[in-house]
């Protein structure tokens, strides 16, 4: 981890550079004394009468008369070369041929553009601040591979894959909808890139191509089962852990979204209670969310990793020998995945969980829920996670039966890395061969042949990938073993992140 001293030096350098840049840009008008007009050394003058206006250059003052030649520059002159002169009354302004003249004593005011130091400093510092936070986010972001698709004119970011698979035992499958992909010369082209400080290991990459009815949306759950959605219903109520209604934040995919409240209390798990009207005799439902993780979760997970200090690599080795059940249970105990509970006749029951989608882009995900234990005309579910770990845009439920779809699996036809080396064989099968991308800017380009489409259907394309990744940390120093041992206990990571947030909030206030 960069020391705070390095961060401070970086910020100081950025601020200094941006101050210099901004001083040339932040200009506002200021008055100048009339006797300084002739010394201002400007090239362009705007003469303002009450009802007259002229642009002049070649200004000269002689015998108390100011004269200048009317000009019509093609583009607006630079502000630092301009002076505004206000003259009254209009009758004193004389125009002969292209020459404008008026008595100097009829100048009421003169203004030039000058650097607004206050604004320049603030804008410069603000820009540096934004750059600092962007750099910090990129430095600390742990975000798994990024996937892009081509549509013939642009390369579009689709999302992240196998987010949260931070050890080899919890390597997992991922099904990412490629919303922007279109055939290019009868091929589907995608790119898998490493853009963060991680070693990313992709085992498998193939396309699952669904031809489905036009009135249905296809979503693939974490088990690889495709569901169609054609009757999405919004919650009739949505309440957070403090009883505040958040139905407006979650009712649509829009700019309104829900992020946890943080209060100085003992609450560690944020619970969103959703209620949906249940159609008569419905036995199953599909719970759909559109969400991403917060950068705060990424940042705090990186901080936790850094606490291992010079034993970080040893921790990685130990983690990679743990059972997948152990690692998944720890993750659930710390509120990292979004857990789903269902109210049934026998009480609240844990149903399933959503994998973390990553912090960069909203992702739609779906889970099928068995409603056989639900009585009454409402389906009540609870979404539970650590406070401030998830950023939700929408939660909805669909009760329609899955429609018939045709799925074609397309294997990679050709794949190369950023050096042009062929890597197809590394990604064809779920085996012990991996495409390893250890550095930022590693990029693999994958090409798939486009199968023929079933007439009368719409097509949805998903990337089925599988892999794991490891955070790269500049680990040093003695590990904080006392704190690290406590992290084994359920909820301690959430406590660690919440205390961290509250401490900075308290310090600021």
């Amino acid at each position: 981890m960069r020391s705070s001293l390095v961060i401070q030096k970086t910020v100081a350098l950025l601020l200094s550079a941006l101050f210099l840049i901004q001083f040339s840009g932040c200009r506002s008008l200021r008055s100048i004394p009339l006797n300084e007009i002739q010394y201002a050394e400007k090239q362009h003058y705007y003469v303002h009468g009450q009802n007259k206006y002229y642009q002049i250059s070649g200004m000269a003052i002689s015998d108390g008369i100011l004269t200048g030649l009317i000009t019509n520059p093609i583009s607006p002159p630079e502000k630092n070369k301009v002076m505004h002169i206000y003259v009254a009354p209009d009758s004193v302004i004389s125009v002969r041929d292209n020459l404008v003249s008026f008595p100097f004593s009829n100048i009421a005011k003169a203004e030039i553009y000058d650097v607004d130091e206050g604004k320049a400093i603030l804008i410069g510092a603000g820009t540096a601040n934004a750059v600092f936070w962007s750099a910090l986010m990129i430095a600390f972001m742990s975000s798994c591979p990024f996937v892009y698709s081509e549509d013939g004119t642009e390369i579009n970011f689709e999302g992240e894959v196998y987010s949260g698979a931070t050890a080899t035992p919890i390597e997992r499958d991922d099904y990412l909808a490629l919303k922007s992909i279109s055939p290019v010369n009868n091929r589907y082209n995608i790119r898998i890139t490493n853009e963060v400080h991680e070693i990313q290991n992709t085992n498998l990459a193939e396309l699952q191509i669904y031809d489905h009815p036009a009135n249905a949306e296809v979503l693939v759950d974490k088990y690889g089962i495709a569901h169609t959605v054609s009757d999405i219903r919004q919650p009739v109520s949505a309440v957070n852990a403090y009883g505040r209604s958040i139905v407006s934040e979650l009712s649509k995919c829009d700019n309104a979204r829900y992020l946890s409240e943080i209060r100085n209390d003992g609450l560690l798990l944020d619970t969103i209670s959703l209620s949906f009207e249940k159609p008569h005799n419905s036995k199953r439902a599909k719970l759909i969310i559109s969400a991403k993780n917060t950068m705060w979760l990424d940042y705090m997970f990186a901080r936790l990793s850094d606490m291992f200090g010079n034993r970080y690599d040893e921790w990685i080795r130990i983690r990679n020998k743990r059972s997948p059940e152990y690692l998944l249970q720890w993750s659930l105990d710390q509120g990292i995945p979004l857990a789903v509970y269902l109210e049934t006749a026998s009480g609240l029951v844990f149903v399933d969980y959503y994998n973390v989608p990553g912090p960069v882009k909203d992702r739609k995900d779906i889970l099928q829920i068995d409603l056989s234990g639900v009585t009454g005309d409402r389906v009540n579910v609870r979404l539970v996670s650590g406070v401030m770990f998830w950023d939700l845009d929408n939660a909805a439920m669909d009760f329609s039966e899955d429609a018939s779809v045709k799925c074609t699996t397309a294997a990679i036809d050709n794949a190369t890395d950023e050096t042009g080396e062929e890597v197809t064989s590394l990604l064809l099968h779920d085996d012990d061969r991996y495409l390893v991308q250890p550095d930022i800017n590693n990029e693999a380009r994958l090409s798939f042949k486009v199968p023929s489409q079933v007439p009368g259907t719409e097509r949805s394309v998903f990337l089925h990938s599988k892999g794991n990744y490891q955070l790269v940390r500049d680990a040093s120093g003695k590990p904080d073993m006392d704190l690290l041992v406590t992290m084994r206990r359920p909820g301690m990571f959430i406590r660690f992140t919440k205390d961290h947030f509250l401490k900075y909030y308290a310090d600021r206030n």
Partner: protein, 138 residues
């Protein structure tokens, strides 16, 4: 990174004072017509060459701006003060405490108004800077 507690306190005081400064708002000068002086205007400052007069109880007719020259200091906020620039200086007539200026000789009329966008924008920048600096200083 830890700093001596005294330095941290001083730093916090400076940040607090700067916050108060910036929360007074960002004002911009806007040029208006002398016939559309905002009704809330309490004071007009008439500028002519190197001279200036502060007038109150003003009136604007078809051809004249007339007002009473203030004898003492007038406390008026920025948004209730208008600046009028006159040429030549001989166009300003002062009889007793009454000032008169033909509208034809008023070259420019400026008023200050709160720039909401700049105030909010710079406020946001300032808050984010405070947050970053306190995170670094600790």
């Amino acid at each position: 990174m830890l700093k001596p507690s005294g330095l941290r306190k001083a730093f916090r005081i400076v940040l607090f004072l700067m916050t108060c400064l910036i929360t007074t708002g960002c004002y911009t000068m806007r040029t208006i017509s002398v016939t559309t002086i905002p009704k809330i205007t309490e004071v007009i400052i008439v500028h002519a060459d190197k001279n200036s007069w502060t007038i109150i109880n003003y009136s604007v007719t078809d051809s004249l701006l007339t007002g009473q020259i203030s004898q003492g200091k007038v406390n008026a906020t920025k948004t209730k003060t208008v600046h009028v620039y006159v040429a030549p200086v001989s166009a300003v007539t002062v009889k007793g405490s009454t000032l008169t200026v033909p509208l034809l000789n008023i070259a420019k009329t400026d008023c200050q108004e709160l720039n909401i966008i700049e105030t909010l924008g710079f406020g946001i920048i300032w808050v984010s800077l405070l947050f970053t600096l306190t995170m670094i200083v600790g």
